[in-house]
């Protein structure tokens, strides 16, 4: 309440009933203003509280999403390097496919096999797995058919031969197997 309005109230009490009536009237207008400010502030408070609830929820959602992203990042962290290592594994297989005839070559091949095994251990530890192919039913999610053949001794739709190994990282296909399928 302003100073001026307080003066009016005091005057009214001292002077007359009529004046007092006026004073009460002023006072009740003043009260409406007070109530209005209170309502307004209460509204603001409520809005602020609603906002707080929403932003707490946003924060929690964000944290959950971050955690999920982090887990996925962690799970597949080796993917870029593994993708570049797949040709290394292919080359190893090709190098080891030779038939060594001399003792020197045989010993070399043995050495290379050991190196290959160390690399296989390392990539397996990170979650790399060879996709099953030969003898299983062709599945376009895992296999890429590059040839077909008719072998009556085997069921149709069976993978007859694996032409290039396929790999997955945990539940994610990095490269499908290239296969020959029975018609």
């Amino acid at each position: 309440m302003s100073e001026k309005q307080e003066e009016i109230v005091e005057d009214s009490v001292v002077d007359s009933t009529e004046e007092t009536e006026q004073a009460v009237s002023v006072d009740s207008v003043e009260e409406v203003v007070e109530v209005d400010e209170l309502t307004l502030v209460k509204q603001q408070l409520e809005e602020e509280q609603d906002k707080a609830i929403r932003s707490r929820a946003d924060f929690e959602n964000y944290k959950r999403r971050v955690q999920k992203d982090k887990e996925a990042d962690y799970k597949y962290r080796a993917q870029p390097l593994l993708l570049d290592i797949l040709p290394v594994l292919d080359n190893f297989e090709r190098a080891l496919a030779v038939n060594a005839t001399t003792e020197e070559a045989t010993s070399l091949v043995k050495g290379v096999e050991m190196v290959y095994r160390t690399l296989l251990d390392a990539v397996t530890k990170e979650g790399l797995e060879v996709i099953e192919a030969e003898g299983v039913a062709f599945d376009p999610n895992f296999h890429q058919a590059v040839m077909q053949e008719k072998d009556d001794s085997k069921e149709p739709g069976i993978v007859l031969q694996e032409l290039q190994k396929g790999y997955k990282l945990k539940d994610r296909i990095l490269r499908p197997s290239m296969v020959k399928v029975n018609e």
Copy 2:
């Protein structure tokens, strides 16, 4: 204002100045209560607003930290696999150190060199680097001294020989070089 109090105000206006005085007095007590609630709600509003500012700041800090963590995770994502590949690189070097005499062995070594190069390309792409050793000043942050020798033709404290390659992933040492140092 309650109904009962309003009645008192009306009565006072109609009845007498004395009664009116009393009414105004009641009214002003009522006003003090109103103002108190307003002050209280305003205080609550202010607290709520402060809290909102603080939690916005917390959220921003959290986001920044998450971003920083994410960048570090991304930067060093290949570290676990690379650590397991270091022995593979060592074995490659050992396998390639042989002196092939037969044509068969020579061709095999060439094949293995190609495989090694493919692997080196893959790990280099992910940020793996060989630590400089031979001919540079010994630095305990990068080198592990396993032998000492006295070579007067070279400066003291110089790395004379690298016994095992050391590697770093970007700015992080994965394994120091094992070296022979000049006394």
